[in-house]
Symmetry: C4
Subunit: 200 residues, 4 copies
């Protein structure tokens, strides 16, 4: 009765749809300032909008990187068990809060609280990825090559979780430490994500 | 002239798209409070936002559970008749009101009215599922195994409908009864949804 | 060089995505009224929201009916020519204005202007369908059965266009005439849309 | 280990989803004016909304043209390398700012600043297309026919980039020059996009 189990293609398509919407509705947080004409382009638009635009760009980078990782993760799933389905729903829930955290940070770019909230949502998202990879490690033991990939990505996900969670208190020391962490993690992730192709 | 009938794949993809948008635009109801800096993270953000976040999480749970059920339902459809097409449109209509009901409840977390409206929209959504399953029972008589599954899910859908509808008056007795019902139903649904796989 | 032509599947999937978003973002026009608690459920929510909800339900009916018709239309397309691509873009443009017209009508339910604007957007949408069917008639001459279907639907689309366009001046006579037309057309369309299956 | 590379179909579907959302959420910038009843349809709705509607129509034309070009581009991709993935993300980032630029221009239709911002976002988007085509030229050297198509489209993309970038300073000379450029480019693009089919 395979038809009653959700197919990996379907789960992937649904998740892709949700992620595509997440990444695109974030742009709705870029509210257009009023009375720009009185103040000129620089003072009326660019200066008030700069932190929001920077946050949007950062979150865009984060979400498309997560999309790539989600794709890589889904490619390892043969059967969507109920556990995988709910681990995936759990991941999408935290990712769906990224537009909110982005908007809040963009509104409060000098406030450590903004970085703490943003760091919390990213921590939860990346921890959800780690949980799925950990589940993969326990499930795919009979396939040593796949288990090795799961463990490798799991290590990176745990590292990213630790870094993001550390950004929460560190934001209260200096927001620049938090910013450095937020930018370093997607770069760390997207650089070697397909690097194991070289040894294939 | 099979080409003029909507294929099940197409109906599923369209429905998935609508459900993915429903689940994601709900996050737009999480309006960012202003002047957080003056009040601090707890008083300025977490306390005012807590009921909205809780409602969002609850509705996320409801909608992804419905998505799973919709998937399971669509997997039983071979030919999309006009009746199935319109029963599905009817279901999507009520589901599309969930973001509104969520936003209203999140704005009015102490008001029984909020729970009544939320309960009404969920009642209508689950009743639409029951209607589709009931249609399935009448259509798939010649396949006893499939008809048995339809009847089994129909029973659960009718139970959920009765519980949700009872949440409407009970919210005026105590909002906590309504909350208990709202959380119990998705849990009841997602737990045994694929349970019959065991006896397959 | 077939790869440079857009495949019908792709055009269908893109159009389905746009239509799914159109039908779902309309619900964002249902703004949640404030201070409901002071006024009670009926005076605070149901009475102010009733016209908006009715408009939303009507537009939901219109758009899902158009989706069914778009599906039926796309099923007749083998090669996506540049003409078909742009006729389809033209159709999606007008359909994308339906959420705006719905919101405007919902805000101004007693104003003939609201019905005129709504009627105009629906006229343009249905006329775009008629244009596509008329193009189909000229393209598919060598397939008499297909050309017959095109002509049959074209007739209905022209009738719908004439009715919608007549709703614009008639709204200034009585808004009830406009309402009757707006409801009659989707009913007329969804009833016999697959009726020719009987004689297949 | 092909499974860990993103398939072209997947990248296309994700990009199509993002572009479908971009083109549709732009309509949310068409805010419904209040108190239309007091001022009449022309003064209350059409006159204040005309520039926004014109901007929306222009951006709709721009985005669906870009969608067609994106489709044509993706049709040439056999293997999604990390470079292509990130060039595509880069493109989607700039395209995702089009709704913002459209809303800003629609709010400030007499201000050269609006045209400058709009021109900047379109410049960045078209330059991203040019970058992808330039990458294609360097990648597909062994396929002379494909390389020829890449070079041909690259030339047009570079021309469009130069025209859009020139619209930024020219908007300060006259907004009508900027408008002429904004309309000319999609027309130039959609006219000959499939023209080489003739010589196939």
């Amino acid at each position: 009765m395979a038809q009653r189990v959700i197919s990996p293609e379907r789960l992937r398509a649904f998740s892709d749809g949700v992620i595509a919407i997440i990444v695109t509705i974030m742009v709705l947080e870029l509210k257009i300032p009023e009375h720009v004409g009185d103040k000129g382009l620089v003072n009326g638009l660019l200066i008030p909008l700069a932190p929001k635009l920077a946050c949007y760009a950062m979150s865009f980078l984060v979400v498309v990187t997560m999309w790539g990782n989600h794709y890589a993760l889904m490619a390892t799933v043969r059967d969507v068990t109920r556990t995988i389905l709910w681990l995936n729903n759990h991941l999408l829930f935290w990712m769906s809060l990224i537009p909110f955290a982005t908007g809040f940070l963009g509104d409060n770019p000098r406030l450590a609280d903004g970085y703490a909230v943003y760091g919390f949502v990213l921590t939860a998202s990346v921890a959800s990825f780690a949980l799925m990879r950990w589940h993969g490690v326990t499930q795919d033991r009979e396939d040593p090559e796949l288990a090795r990939v799961h463990r490798q990505v799991l290590k990176k996900s745990v590292l990213a979780t630790v870094l993001y969670v550390s950004a929460i208190p560190l934001a209260y020391v200096s927001i620049w430490i938090a910013i450095a962490i937020f930018i370093a993690i997607p770069v760390m992730f997207f650089l070697p994500i397909f690097a194991h192709r070289g040894d294939a």
